[in-house]
Symmetry: C2
Subunit: 196 residues, 2 copies
């Protein structure tokens, strides 16, 4: 296969996708070239369009094609509440719940010392500026309940409180529809402590 430059380059390039190693890249390349050349062309142009047009919302940092994302541009949203999430996918999950009508700040990441990602890589300074616009009164830390998400919430919470803002965190507890028998012990302990 050494003389096959275009195929080798494609296998190499596919490995830039997260979670794709050499073998899956090869399988992907073979599949697209053998069975779905239309899909390959569609993916090529979708990548180019996205790289050209997708940028960050100047207010909340999520991906958007204009200067401001539709949620930040919507005057009906409650500007006094700001939910801080890690990714656009987490934001979408909150939106689907229909339980939040405020604004967002999307960190586009989390603190991760192992990967060398600190508080500057998640736009902490921009969040401080955004949260101290004089309108925001409550910041809801909706980072994930993982070690990294908790550390992120802790650090951001301290900084935001020092600005005099009211800072809350999503409640922990037993998920809806779950049986206690199968819920992990840490969650049960939290649910007990926060009983009402």
């Amino acid at each position: 296969m050494s003389g096959e430059h275009a195929l080798g380059a494609l296998v190499q390039a596919l490995q830039r996708l997260p979670g794709v190693g050499q073998r899956s890249a090869q399988r992907m390349a073979y599949h697209m070239l053998q069975h779905d050349r239309g899909g390959a062309q569609q993916l090529a142009s979708a990548l180019q369009t996205a790289v050209q047009h997708v940028r960050h919302c100047s207010q909340c940092h999520t991906f958007t094609e204009g200067d401001i994302c539709p949620i930040c541009a919507d005057p009906a949203r409650d500007a006094t509440r700001l939910a801080v999430v890690e990714t656009p996918a987490d934001q979408a999950a909150l939106e689907r719940s229909g339980a939040f009508n405020g604004r967002y700040f999307v960190l586009m990441g989390r603190i991760s010392p192992l990967d060398g990602r600190g508080v500057h890589d998640i736009g902490a300074a921009e969040l401080m500026k955004r949260a101290s616009d004089g309108v925001v009164r409550e910041v809801i830390l909706a980072t994930n309940f993982t070690a990294e998400g908790e550390a992120t919430a802790h650090l951001l919470g301290e900084a935001l409180r020092s600005l005099g803002l009211s800072v809350t965190r999503l409640a922990r507890g037993v998920p809806a529809g779950s049986e206690l028998e199968y819920v992990d012990l840490g969650t049960i302990a939290h649910a007990l402590a926060a009983r009402r």
Copy 2:
């Protein structure tokens, strides 16, 4: 996210890759746009180049950029032996072994009734034509030892034998370096039956 056309189109297009569902497509799109726009551009152009330039070798059906792949074009290879493999990756594995100096026919697939892929979809007619060129004397069936690979070998073997060709199959047995304790029973039974 409904107004975000370019991002949505990218997530859609990534799902054309085999093994990529909605969630991984989203994760890939976010990662490329946030951390690796250069990689996204590289992937876009690698896809386009490959779709334009990669075609099938007129002799063995593997992917190539010219009319004939380097192996088929090499006069030093033994033209009397033809190994039939499922994919270019299997061909590469045989090449790495250094134990085969003949020519290849790459099926670019296998028989798979569940996916509606029969003997015509793997170029059986082209293989018959290739194998009856008057030079090939032995056809080595090197399809995988899976149910589908075995069925493919069985059907092709019958057809090739009816052309008067000598047809062999890769030997089954205990892999080099393995301990009997951990080898599956079917393999041990085959190794016993084929003992020498």
